[in-house]
């Protein structure tokens, strides 16, 4: 399950599976999303992703994932989860249509989820208050990684 979750997360975040594992948060995020929407919905989401073919990938992602009223909001939440470590409460519409979930409220997954957010490497900064970068490091330009090419638009 963790491998499938990581493959999908790599597509969602434009970070590699190695980088995602490197945050040490993969299992905690999978547990968090399963804890809120239930393992069945997560399987549904990953299954829908895996059915998307290699051709016309971007359209497939839009149609089957982001345009899907049930799966789209969960996928968007996963992107935010990886970037800032916070699960945001799902939209009210979603809860009304698919049923409110007991654990669906806005919460930080863990203390380390903040410092391991992908936001920080994406902007070439360190998380304020954590991972001290050393005195004077601010005199150097931010180390912003190159914008990755979308695997979806490539194919």
């Amino acid at each position: 399950m963790i491998e499938r979750f990581l493959r999908f997360s790599a597509e969602l975040t434009a970070f590699s599976e190695l980088q995602l594992r490197g945050t040490g948060q993969a299992q905690a995020y999978l547990d968090a999303v399963e804890g809120v929407v239930g393992p069945k919905s997560v399987r549904e989401l990953l299954g829908a992703y895996e059915e998307i073919g290699v051709t016309d990938r971007e359209a497939g992602l839009r149609r089957k994932i982001f345009g899907d009223p049930k799966l789209g909001p969960i996928a968007r939440n996963l992107i935010k989860l990886w970037y800032v470590g916070i699960w945001y409460q799902l939209p009210r519409d979603w809860a009304q249509t698919y049923g409110a979930r007991e654990k669906d409220r806005t919460f930080m997954v863990s203390a380390s989820a903040y410092s391991e957010g992908l936001l920080w490497p994406a902007i070439g900064a360190h998380p304020p208050g954590a991972k001290a970068p050393g005195y004077g490091s601010w005199t150097e330009a931010p180390r912003i990684p190159p914008v990755p090419q979308s695997s979806a638009s490539n194919s």
């Binding site: 590699s16 599976e17 190695l18 980088q19 594992r21 490197g22 945050t23 040490g24 203390a111 380390s112 991972k131 001290a132 970068p133 050393g134 005195y135 004077g136 490091s137 150097e140």
Partner: protein, 360 residues
């Protein structure tokens, strides 16, 4: 009857180069154990390891200062360290597992996860023992052993009883040569001394080595912080010696001032040996198999480490302000190590990747 082995400046330089090599050689094993601890867990162990590794970095810098203090600007020697500290000399970074001195029996130092066996090795590295008598200070090596870091430079067949004994020899060498040459022994350019203004939160004060007094104090600090001295577990600065810091992890209890070795009476100390990444022991690039994103990350770490040593070398050779730039690089090394350790190593049974410290 005391015999001085170091009777020439050339030999003293050779010993100081070895001292730098030795101090550095402890850093990859300590860093590997330190970062293998799951972030946010095992805070007692994490802090003990961190203090020790930071002090080893201080000792490396002190050894560099000692070498610089006796390196005359016009030295024409051709050995890699004749013109000053050289972290880039061939073989400076050992191939692990590597040998360090251990009295009668040999042991190897590994790159391995935080574990009881790692702590046992660390205790051997920092062993406080003085040789029982003068004749035992130098020990004949066992045949067939591999690389030694504190082998006696002029006789590769012999090694020192402990790191403390090795530094005692250096102190004797300084005294002998000072008696012969007087203040001209310290012919090094004082601007090459790395001092505390370039070095912060680094485990102690860095004083310039410019005379016999400062040389002796520098050596005393290394011996006192490392292995302890004269049977005491605390040094003059009331810091616990490294050996006893590690000993606390073995015994599950903190030492307090006034305690005797093996009998700590301080608070309990909790160690969770399982809250550790299952990293592969003594990983080399060949363990990474075919080229992959993971093997590239391992190589990228080695390149970063090599650049870090090169920058440090510049700092030790007349550009001490460079140290301030090196510190942020050290934090990035930490992030690279953690990324590797979070990832499974293909071809192993549930083991994770680890930095290999193979510097080209």
């Amino acid at each position: 009857m005391t015999t001085t082995i170091i009777t020439t400046v050339d030999r003293l330089k050779e010993y100081l180069h070895r001292a730098m090599q030795l101090e550095h050689a402890t850093i990859p094993p300590y860093l590997t154990a330190l970062y293998s601890i799951h972030p946010g867990t095992n805070s007692d162990a994490y802090h003990i390891l961190r203090v020790v590794v930071v002090e080893e970095m201080l000792h490396l810098t002190i050894a560099a200062n000692l070498l610089s203090s006796i390196t005359c600007p016009n030295d024409n020697g051709t050995r890699p360290y004749d013109k000053g500290p050289n972290l880039l000399a061939e073989g400076f970074v050992p191939a692990y597992p590597a040998y360090l001195p251990d009295g009668e029996r040999d042991f190897q130092v590994h790159l391995e996860r935080f574990s009881e066996s790692a702590i046992d090795t660390f205790l051997k590295i920092e062993r406080p023992a003085s040789a029982p008598d003068e004749s035992k200070r130098l020990i004949k090596r066992k045949a067939g052993s591999a690389q030694y870091l504190v082998a006696c430079p002029e006789d590769e067949e012999k090694q020192y009883y402990s790191i403390g004994e090795f530094y005692e020899e250096i102190a004797r060498g300084f005294k002998y040569l000072y008696e012969e040459k007087g203040p001209s022994l310290f012919c090094g350019d004082p601007k090459r001394q790395v001092t505390s203004e370039y070095y912060y939160s680094g485990g102690g004060e860095l004083h310039p080595v410019v005379c016999m007094d400062s040389a002796q104090r520098a050596i005393d600090l290394i011996i006192g912080q490392g292995e302890g001295r004269g049977g005491g577990i605390y040094n003059k600065e009331r810091e616990l010696a490294h050996f006893y810091r590690f000993d606390q992890l073995r015994l599950g209890k903190y030492y307090r001032a006034g305690d005797k070795p093996d009998e700590p009476t301080g608070p309990e100390l909790h160690v969770d040996w399982n809250a550790v990444f299952p990293i592969h022991k003594d990983t080399t690039l060949s363990d990474y198999g075919e080229s992959s994103e993971l093997s590239e990350a391992a190589k990228a770490f080695n390149r970063s480490y090599g650049r870090f040593l090169a920058d440090l070398n510049e700092a030790y050779n007349g550009a001490p302000e460079k140290l301030l730039e090196v510190v942020p690089r050290m934090f990035r090394l930490r992030d690279q190590i953690l990324q590797l350790m979070h990832n499974p190593l293909p071809g192993t049974e549930g083991q994770n990747a680890a930095p290999t410290f193979e510097v080209a």
